[in-house]
Every structure is written in structure tokens, then in C-alpha cells.
Amino acid sequence: MIEIKNINKTFGDRQIVKDVSFKFFPSKTNLVIGESGCGKTTILKLMVGLHQLDSGSVLFDGLDFPKLNQDDQQDVRKKIGMLFQGGALFDSQTLEENVRFPLDMFTDLSLKEKLDRVNFCLQRVQLEGKNGLYPAELSGGMKKRAALARAIANNPRYLFCDEPNSGLDPKTAIVIDELIKDITHEYNITTIIVSHDMNSVIEIGDNILFIHKGENWWTGNKSEIFHTTNKELFNFVFAGEFMKSVFKVQNK
């Protein structure tokens, strides 16, 4: 479990994250949703220490991560898999080398075992056979999926995904959502997904944190979200005509 307590972050004179507290549970797909620019990515980066907190704490199974020394932080991070919003694949390495990288670094597996693992991960994100391509030769959606394969390569305990299915077609987006949900349940991972895609919310919203202007505005799950009386959340959920019609059908 990961728990954030009263975290705050200011960039310059703009307070981006305001006193947010929340619990992310293992074996659940925990969603952080909200409109563009509300501070989702910032919260994710605060949790893993890529931004420094102004105040508050982030507990990884009880360990206050930001207060650990560098070596202990590194040990926690070896258990983290992270999918960046932009992919962040290593340009100088092929797809296979990218996915193999965490294995090379932290395991003593034989090359054969590593390659088996790489091919298994690539197959799960539907990129089998693309081993030799460089990131520059992949499409935007393929990069996302490749980055997800790298994030799950070394069996993480905590999985952070920043918009895993933005830029994907609806069919592939669902495949990726399902994949994240499956591995979360299979391996008892604490998974945190940043999203602004309502499809994902319906598919995999076990435990949802809605951020509005940097604040914890609403929490709940996918069935509660459609009966919300919260004005901002309502506007977020029912921004599109499609969701409105879905809602009407449901309430008939």
C-alpha cells in the first residue's frame, strides 16, 4: 500500500498540489483523474521523488520514502515500475535492450532467461517481433506500449502509469487497460494510473482520486462516480455527449 499524507508542492509562486491525502491499495487499479494541468503528473512525480515535496509524507508500505537516504531510496525504487507520459525510452537502445535493461541491471538471469522475459512482456503489449526496432522507428502508441513493457519487466511491486492509453486507438487502449488490471491482480501490485479517459474509469476504476486545481476533490469508485453530486466532477465525467447518453441508458 502507498499512502500520501498532506502533500504540498509549489512551483515558483503557484501552488500546484494542495494538501492532498489518499491511500493507494495493492491488487487494485488506483486511478488519479482530473482535467489537463490539474497536477496529476506532479503528484506522481512527488510520490516517486522526482520532485521534492514542500511538506507531507509518502509512505511505501510504511516507509516514509522522501525521508530515506539515497541508498535506501534506490532500494525502494528497484521495486517501482514507471511509465512516463512521454514514454522516456532510451533512444540509443533497441526495443529489446530497453525492456531488458532493468533485468541487466538488477538480476543475475542468463541471457536466455532475460530474452524469454523480454519476449513475454513484448507479447503482452502486442509488440512481439519488434525487438530490433529503435524508439525513433516506433509510433507514439507503440512507444507507450514499449515503455509499459519495460515498466513491468522486472516484476515491480508498485506500478506508476502516467496516461498509459492516451494516443492509442480505443481497441488497443482497452487491451492496455485490461493488461494493467490483470497484472495488478495477478501479482498483487499497487498500481497507480493517471488518466483523463472516461473509458478507463469505467473499465478499471477500483479506487479513484479526482483532483481539481491541485486538491483532493472527490474519492470513490467507478459505480459511485456516476451518481456524484459534486459539480466539478459531474462536469468532468459528463463533458462529452457520449457519457451523457450512457448515463441516461443506465438510469432508465
Partner: protein, 236 residues
């Protein structure tokens, strides 16, 4: 601060070892053509220049070979060639690491629990310290060869005189002095450029700026340390 992280015990030697081999190729071998071309031409120019200046018939012609050797070994190869390498290797390192910074590749390394400074910078510094002396040795050889070819073909001296010249009054300590400088310069170029690349923030524009800064600062430091080292050696 950054240097402390760079020289922390590597997390996995086999991976670092592979990186060093890769960087030796990337930094060193790929610089061979430019080093070769510049050395041959500069060697030739130095010899021709010397031939023009020595119009005094009392001076023996083998002085040409002697002058070419002295200037190439002492200053031209270690300093000028390292300045050229600061331009080529320095901008290359700074833009590579800078691009990794702005596309979050460095963050990705950190998240995996990897000491990104160590993983990215250490192999480059070690590779440069290993390969630069070889590059400079080749440069010295080609420079003297270039002087020979130009000297003969311009009719400034005979083959025998030049070869005799490059062998007279040879002090091996000077080689020691030159190669010490090269190792120091290799360290300056790689560490300064890595520093500016690593601390890039913003977008593609800032990567360009980091790379310019890397070249300017390493060049200035090369000249400064060249001066300091010359003083130290002359006083001993």
C-alpha cells in the same frame, strides 16, 4: 556534488564495462578521421613555416625536423588537438545527456533505482582517459609525418636531414609531460560536458545552449590547465 555520485561504486560492473567499451568507440575511434586530417596538415604547415623563418644559411637544415617535432609533441598535439576534441566530443556528450534529461530518460533511470550520474558519466570519463592518449600519439606520429612529406616535397630539406632532426636532442620527459596534459584534458572535456548536459532543463533550445557552454568552458579550462601544468613541469 555530481562528481561524488559519478564515482560512487558502480552498481553492476558488467554493465559499466560494456558502456566503457561502447564509449571508447563512440568518443575515441570516431574522432580518428578528424584528428588524422588536422595532424597531417598542421605538421606540414609547421614545417613550411619553419622553413621560411630559417633563412639564415648558418643554421643547419635538420633544425626543421627538430622544430617540427618539438612543437608537435609539446604543444600542438596535446593542446590544439584536445581543443578540437573539446568541440567534437564535448558538444556530443552535452547534447546526448541533455536530450536524455529533457525527454525524462534520466528520470526513468533514477526511477529504476539506477545512479544515473554514475551510469551515464563514469564510462565516458574512463573511456576518454583511456583512448585520448592513443589519439594524441597517433596525432604526433601523423603530424611529424605530415611535416616530412611537406618538407621534402617543398624542397625545404632532404629526407636525411629531417629524419636526423627529429632524432636529435630528444628528451623522453617531454612525452611524459605531454601525456599528463592529455589525461587531464580528457578528464576536463568529459566531466565539464557531462555536467552541463546533466543539468539541462527545459527543451531542445536549452540542449543547444548546454552544448555550446560545454565547448566554451572546456576550451577555456584546457588553456588554463595547460598553463598551470607547463609551469609545474618547468619548475621541476
Amino acid at each position: 556534488m555530481l562528481m561524488m555520485r559519478v564515482f560512487k561504486k558502480p552498481q553492476k560492473w558488467s554493465v559499466y564495462y560494456k558502456q566503457i567499451i561502447f564509449e571508447i568507440d563512440n568518443i575515441g575511434i570516431s574522432s580518428l578521421p578528424i584528428v588524422a586530417i588536422i595532424s597531417i596538415f598542421m605538421g606540414g604547415i609547421i614545417t613550411i613555416q619553419a622553413a621560411f623563418s630559417i633563412s639564415n644559411p648558418l643554421l643547419p637544415l635538420y633544425v626543421l625536423g627538430f622544430t617540427a617535432r618539438e612543437s608537435i609533441i609539446l604543444e600542438f598535439s596535446p593542446t590544439i588537438v584536445c581543443l578540437i576534441l573539446a568541440g567534437k566530443v564535448g558538444s556530443n556528450i552535452a547534447s546526448e545527456i541533455g536530450a536524455m534529461r529533457i525527454t525524462e530518460q534520466i528520470d526513468a533511470l533514477e526511477i529504476m533505482g539506477i545512479n544515473s550520474a554514475g551510469y551515464l558519466i563514469f564510462p565516458k570519463i574512463i573511456a576518454a582517459i583511456i583512448i585520448f592518449p592513443f589519439l594524441i600519439a597517433i596525432s604526433m606520429f601523423l603530424g611529424i609525418l605530415g611535416g616530412y612529406v611537406m618538407g621534402i616535397s617543398a624542397g625545404a630539406c632532404s629526407s636525411y636531414q629531417y629524419v636526423y632532426g627529429i632524432q636529435t636532442y630528444f628528451d623522453p620527459n617531454k612525452l611524459y609531460y605531454s601525456f599528463t596534459k592529455v589525461v587531464v584534458f580528457a578528464f576536463i572535456i568529459t566531466s565539464i560536458s557531462s555536467y552541463f548536459g546533466y543539468n539541462t532543463s527545459g527543451g531542445a533550445l536549452e540542449v543547444g545552449k548546454s552544448s555550446t557552454k560545454a565547448v566554451v568552458y572546456s576550451s577555456v579550462l584546457i588553456l588554463l590547465f595547460g598553463l598551470i601544468l607547463t609551469n609545474i613541469f618547468l619548475n621541476h
